[in-house]
Amino acid sequence: MNLAACSFGAVGTLVAFHTGIAGSGLDSRLTVQGVLLGVAAAAVVGGLVALPALRLRGLYLALATMAFGVFLSTMVLRDTTEHHVLGHTFTIFPTGSITVPAIRVGPLDLRDGPAFLITVAVLFAAIGTGLVALRNSGYGRRLVAMKDSPAASAMLGQNLVRLKLSVFVLSAAIAGLGGILMSSALGAVDTDTYSIVVSLSLLMLTVVAGIGYVSGALFGGLLAGVGFSLLVTTFNDLAAADPDLAGLYRLLGHLVTVSPALIGVGVGHNPSGTVHQVVEGYRSLRRARPVLVGGAVLEAVLYLLTLSGAMDRWWFGILTVVLVMMLPLLGRMLMPAAVLGPEEHARQRRALSEPADDDVPRTERDLRALDRALGLPAPTTAAPGVRRGTA
């Protein structure tokens, strides 16, 4: 785990800043070369940081990245003096704040807000798709295998250090790209932009949203970037616009302010994150086609209503989120047999109509169903029926 994503972003930004700025004044721009160099630098630095730490287990690697983050923000980014190396004069972080101009490639000028948004969205989609493809590839399976059992992986011929290094370098490169884009979106960045605290809060939101999911990263990023402040202002605006419902909107707005606490509770309840739950819900919906189609139709109607101006854009957003979250639940209510599978459904009905009778011997199967219903962990395969013996 990398606790210093922002620091690699900083490395990317610095390198891009020093190598990739063309033109001056209002006409200055960031070149693609600079961006690529920045990404490459972040990857290389990531590899160098990880190399000594990779022989250690997860937590120590995480701590090493954190140490790097602290080092970078307190030493390198505070370094505003001039250096003379090999006849070159340069300053790592001049005046404690640098201005990163927008990227411009040919006709594509990212100073333009919508163009920037679309480019970033496309880049995110491309990287996300790439990562999903990677996970389903042999490389991805090897990563999962290493995570599940390093010993077995090594015994099959996996060089663990090399595999860890490769994935860490990849993540540092992505962090570098993210950092450059963030900096150029902000326009000017200073030391605090990359502080370790920013990295940690980004990480927390990603965990909350769903660690191990690309959509989790999107959701977490949205929460971090726009989520909270936007929600609060939205509800305030709505309250102002619609005095009849003002009380309700204010209440919702207040709920948003306490949401970080609720989020913590959420992680305790569901360590895999929000997205995981939603994805699981949809997985069980696969057999209930009508519900899925119904949901899609409903969403289309919402979209058309918005397009025709009959509905506010905010309402569209809120209703969409509600619909996405509720659909699995609706499916379970409307078509329980299809969602849960006929057997499970029949069993649940039986369980509801006849209270459990302790005189009737329960089968292994019933016990497992019971465990699942109660949310207990399934008995591990190794535990029962293992014969004595250690060597």
Binding site: A154, L156, G157, A382, R387, G389, A391
Partner: protein, 252 residues
Amino acid sequence: MALLETRGITVRFGGRTAVDDVGLGVAPGTVTGLIGPNGAGKTTLFNTVTGLQRPTAGRILLDGTDITRLPPARRAHQGLGRTFQRLELFMSLSVRENVRVAGEIHRSGARRNRGAGGGARPDLGRETDRVLELTGLTDIADQDVSGIPTGRARVVELARALMASPRVLLLDEPASGQTEQETGEFGELLLRLAADGLAICLVEHDIPLVMKLCSTVHVLDRGRLLASGTPEQIRADPAVVAAYIGTEEHPR
């Protein structure tokens, strides 16, 4: 001629000697048994041979080459495979993926170790199917590995090890947790694999199984090699009976 050989292997943990000057060989085409009471050093010896544990003294030879200082992954590419006493399956993958990823690991490393290509190799998917078929796992191939019973899980570990095309296979208590029928089928499978030229070394507490499968049996007791010989010789050895077999009916 032994394919895998240990010479004077000694492993000390602090003041305790877990394995003491053990020299034994595993020949291709045979099943070799390694038995002994709990704590005799059988798993430690396995860990030393596979590179998870560094020996205090001694050498390990695979096909005449010294592999004592190689890391585990390199040994695997030299043809050393193993299963674990405590299951080490890839819990978030299905049975088929567990087997397939072993092939993927093997190939990704093999490319580096022996240069690109290496002649025409069968499709990995087909190879996976072949091993699943061979080990009788086809019926549960698409189940999550976390849900299958221990007995079958041991077979999955074996199938996974086979995907790395081993020459020597070390099995650590493969029959523990298996039903009698599963053990029977497992034994048949091991004999078939050995007949194809694989060298198999088996740590096992199921004495009848060991006696049935093995052509040579080594007995470890408190880290030392107590006896080596054919099953008949071992069964008749008074020292072995006193140290191990005789105590089976009267556990300490």
